[in-house]
């Protein structure tokens, strides 16, 4: 064996790429979880192909998983991979452009057959036509390595070959000094009923590890010290999963049964999949015939006294618009989840975007004010979902919760809260039938009191026609319509009284305030911190609450010479900020179905500050 150098790193970004069938998502998450367990901070970005499985070996069939691990705060999956693991030519072709020169590339040489090369659209083999000059290429016949390691096992070759991803994982484990146990245990749990497969995968893992250790192919191994992470119990969780759990927790807090009315759509479907698993928590999931039925069933469930939720993506929101207006008018609690994807129309269903903000704000007939909040990363989906529940119930109104494909599928280490610490959320039920009116309101919140079928003496009718103040009886009276329109508007404003003030990270006044919302949180936070480390006068405000805005937002804006709003759209929040506060806003827009790179934000900031200097 050879002695090898040993290098310390603060952070590293690894990208696993292969065919949809190669199990790259699994490999990536194993690496992620193990890294989390050894105390690194982590952030991941699964990047899989469009819904349909393209034929094996083709470019559209490539599935990738990028993870950044580090001993420092990690808020994004990393701008560019330091290491690319490419299990076939297509994976190399698709992902190479993302790897900066000097980066390391692992390839499974056995997959570079002429057939696969042509499938990937390579005329010549990139491994020897010089197109990889400038990269550190590590060529390993991973398939052969795996088959040899499993030679003894009584398994068909197909099943054996399937283990090659664990072989590759083993190499990475050695390279970054990760323990094998967590994955070995996972394998045992997963293949409890198929001991032979369990053994095969563990052996492949070990083989890869040993191979990396013994050969000269990998000159040096790296160490990434644990990050300073708050002590506690952690779990790696995806955004959609966290949302689902947050809803269950929120319902526990109000003491109402959770009703989900939904229709499958990428990238929101996993919320349905997750919730439908948890019937023992009294969760009722209803897969409706379409999005309209989904939101309408939720509205019916809300009228019936449940905590009603409907989940979808942009095209589904468009279909729910009319019914959302009914919920606004009837002032029923309802949570509408929009996991945004790239539009317009069907667009790019598996790609992320933030282009539904204006739709959820204004995509209804008439003056139809609605509450909008958003989550920023997988791990805060849990709390944002609980907040949505609280707002919907406290104010008796529909609440839109904006997520996006990047948050929904990404994962992060989630410090598990203590459920016993969750305060219960009160419901305003009327007590006296003799004085009850459906639209009689709470002085402070303007919420109407909530009587539901089954409550004797509180029988009442509501509907979509304009209603008389207090009684809710149908009314065409001109003055009443204006009164009600203003009440609906004012009621939304009252939410701001209830919200926490908008916080800022960095100087409370200065040259530049960068405002993020939703999934741009991570890259903006990282870019701004970098600037701050460079001593620049830049602050970061992340908006969770988009309608209404926190009370102090307007005045905040006044404290900075410039304001930058980076968005994965053509400037939707920017528009709203402009007319809400007559503020001058600098926009940074990207609309490529991809999250911001830290670098992109950083350079926009630097450019703005530079301008400032002339």
């Amino acid at each position: 064996m050879t002695t090898k150098s040993h290098v310390e790193l603060d952070r590293v970004t690894i990208r696993f790429a292969g065919d949809s069938g190669d199990g790259m998502q699994l490999t990536g998450s194993q690496f992620t979880n193990t890294s989390a367990i050894v105390g690194n901070d982590i952030s991941t970005f699964p990047d899989f192909p469009a819904e349909i499985r393209a034929p094996a070996g083709t470019l559209p069939g490539v599935s990738s998983f990028q993870v950044q691990i580090g001993n420092v705060d990690i808020h994004t999956p990393g701008d560019d991979p330091d290491i690319l693991v490419a299990m076939n030519p297509a994976a190399l072709k698709v992902n190479l452009p993302m790897v900066p020169r000097g980066g390391t590339i692992f390839v499974d040489t056995s997959s570079f057959t002429t057939r696969n090369l042509s499938k990937a659209g390579y005329d010549t083999n990139p491994l020897d036509d010089g197109s990889l000059v400038g990269y550190r290429v590590v060529e390993v016949d991973i398939t052969k390595l795996t088959l040899n390691a499993l030679a003894e096992l009584d398994l068909d070759n197909k099943s054996k070959t399937r283990c090659k991803n664990f072989c590759a994982l083993g190499m990475m484990y050695w390279m970054y000094g990760r323990p094998l146990e967590p994955t070995q245990e996972w394998v045992e749990r997963k293949f409890a009923r198929k001991p032979l497969l369990a053994q095969a995968n563990k052996m492949a893992l070990q083989a890869g590890y040993n191979y990396a250790y013994t050969t000269d192919l990998i000159p040096s191994s790296f160490e990434i010290k644990p990050a300073v992470i708050e002590p506690g119990t952690y779990r790696s969780i995806s955004g959609n999963q966290a949302l689902a759990l947050g809803l269950i927790a929120g319902c526990k807090q109000v003491g109402l049964p959770l009703f989900l009315g939904t229709y499958p759509i990428t990238p929101a479907s996993d919320i349905l999949h997750e919730l439908s698993k948890h019937k023992e928590y009294g969760v009722l999931t209803f897969q409706a015939e379409d999005e309209i039925a989904a939101v309408c069933a939720a509205i019916g469930a809300s009228y019936g006294g449940g905590l009603a939720v409907t989940s979808t993506s942009g095209p589904g929101i468009a279909l729910k618009a009319e019914a959302m207006g009914l919920a606004v008018k009837t002032e029923l609690p309802l949570i509408v989840i929009d996991v945004q994807r790239a539009g317009p129309s069907t667009g790019m269903p598996t790609k992320t975007e933030q282009s539904d903000l204006l739709q959820v704000m204004y995509g209804r007939n008439g003056e139809s004010p609605i509450c909008v909040i958003s989550c920023s990363r997988p791990t805060d989906c849990f709390d944002v979902a609980r907040q949505a529940v609280e707002l919907a119930i406290r104010f008796m109104m529909p609440v839109v919760l904006l997520s996006d494909g990047y948050i929904a599928n990404g994962t992060g280490p989630w410090k598990l809260p203590d459920p016993d610490s969750f305060e219960s959320i009160p419901i305003r039920r009327p007590s006296d039938p003799s004085t009850y009116q459906p639209y009689q309101r709470d002085e402070e919140s303007l919420a109407r009191s909530w009587a539901i079928p089954g409550m004797p003496g509180f029988e009442h009718r509501i509907g979509g026609l304009e209603g008389q103040n207090e009684t809710g009886n149908v009314s065409y009276d001109p003055q009443n319509h204006e009164t009600m329109s203003l009440i609906r508007e004012e009621k939304l404003m009252r939410v701001a009284e209830f919200l926490p003030e908008q916080k800022v990270v960095g100087p409370t006044e200065g040259d530049l305030l960068v405002i993020s919302w939703g999934g741009t949180y991570g890259s903006v936070f990282s870019a701004v911190s970098e600037c701050q480390r460079e001593g620049k006068s830049v602050a970061h405000a992340h908006l969770t609450h988009l309608s209404p805005f926190p009370k102090n937002l307007g005045s905040l804006l006044g404290n900075y010479r410039k304001i930058l709003v980076p968005e994965l759209n053509l400037g939707q929040l920017a528009k709203i900020l402009k007319f809400s506060f007559d503020a001058e806003i600098e926009q940074l827009n990207k609309i490529q179905g991809q999250p911001f790179k830290i670098r992109e934000i950083k350079s926009a900031i630097d450019a703005l500050l530079a301008q400032g200097e002339n």
Partner: protein, 339 residues
Amino acid sequence: MSDTKTLSKKDFTSDQEVRWCPGCGDYAILNAVQSVLPKLGIPKEKIVFVSGIGCSSRFPYYMSTYGFHTIHGRAAAIATGLKLINPELSVWMVSGDGDSLSIGGNHYIHAIRRNIDINLLLFNNEIYGLTKGQYSPTSPAGLVTKSSPYGSLDRNFSAASLSIGAESTFFARALDSDPKYLQEIMIRATAHRGTSVIEILQNCVIFNDGAHEWTTNRESKADHQLRLEHGKPMLFGAENNKGIRLNGITPEVVTLGENGITEADILVHDEKATEPTLAYFLSRMRAPDFPTPIGVFRAVEGPTYDQQLHQQVEDVKLKKGQGNLKKLLYSGDIWEVKA
């Protein structure tokens, strides 16, 4: 409140002024509903009327029960959610031929398919009343209306055929002009567990007056109506001497006594037939060759979605034990970070 014995018709009448055109068939139906509810022994607070948009859909405002006047075509979906969250409720849906069979068609057939336990009153006046008279999916082809000055080109739905094609477990037909019988049918519908559709042939005096004249006309109705009774032969006519005979798989009208026809030849109604083919067969009988079948076409027991949904939750609870939030959160790949 919940003391139902004392309830009377006026207990179900709201303070809102009824605003249908004078002479509209809806009045009779409202009257029938308000009269029948006290007989059902359901606590008032457990009754909810859900409607879409249309003249007929104003219905809930005139009831003093819980009520929801929703949006056009969506009543079935909203009623579904309501019933699913609280299966204890007696959920009544009121809807027009446009509301349920045009814009609401999808929710209508899916509610029926899932067999959600609601009572669906389908006011079929074969016209869009509220929007002042355009043809509807049940209007006969050729009908001249505001939107079809040269006659409608649409082939029309049979509400019965469509419902049965959508796996209906209960379908009945009644008339606004015969409120007593309508009440009987409503009692049958409430007794049925699952989606019970009552198609009510209703007259719109303003925009489609006399649409059901052939069936309802005092003089001829005995000859033009076939009252379905489970287990009874399909006889009708002023002298009750006409009947329906099966000819292969198609119906034919015969007269008792004429060329040797006896009651034995007459098809016997079976609303409980496991296969809905007979109900479908009835749905094809129509003027002028056949009398209009009135009454219960089909009433078969079957699991309801609402009951099963809650059953499944209970089953899982039994299997896994009542969910505990802490357990839920602290599952999956978890790890400790020590101080």
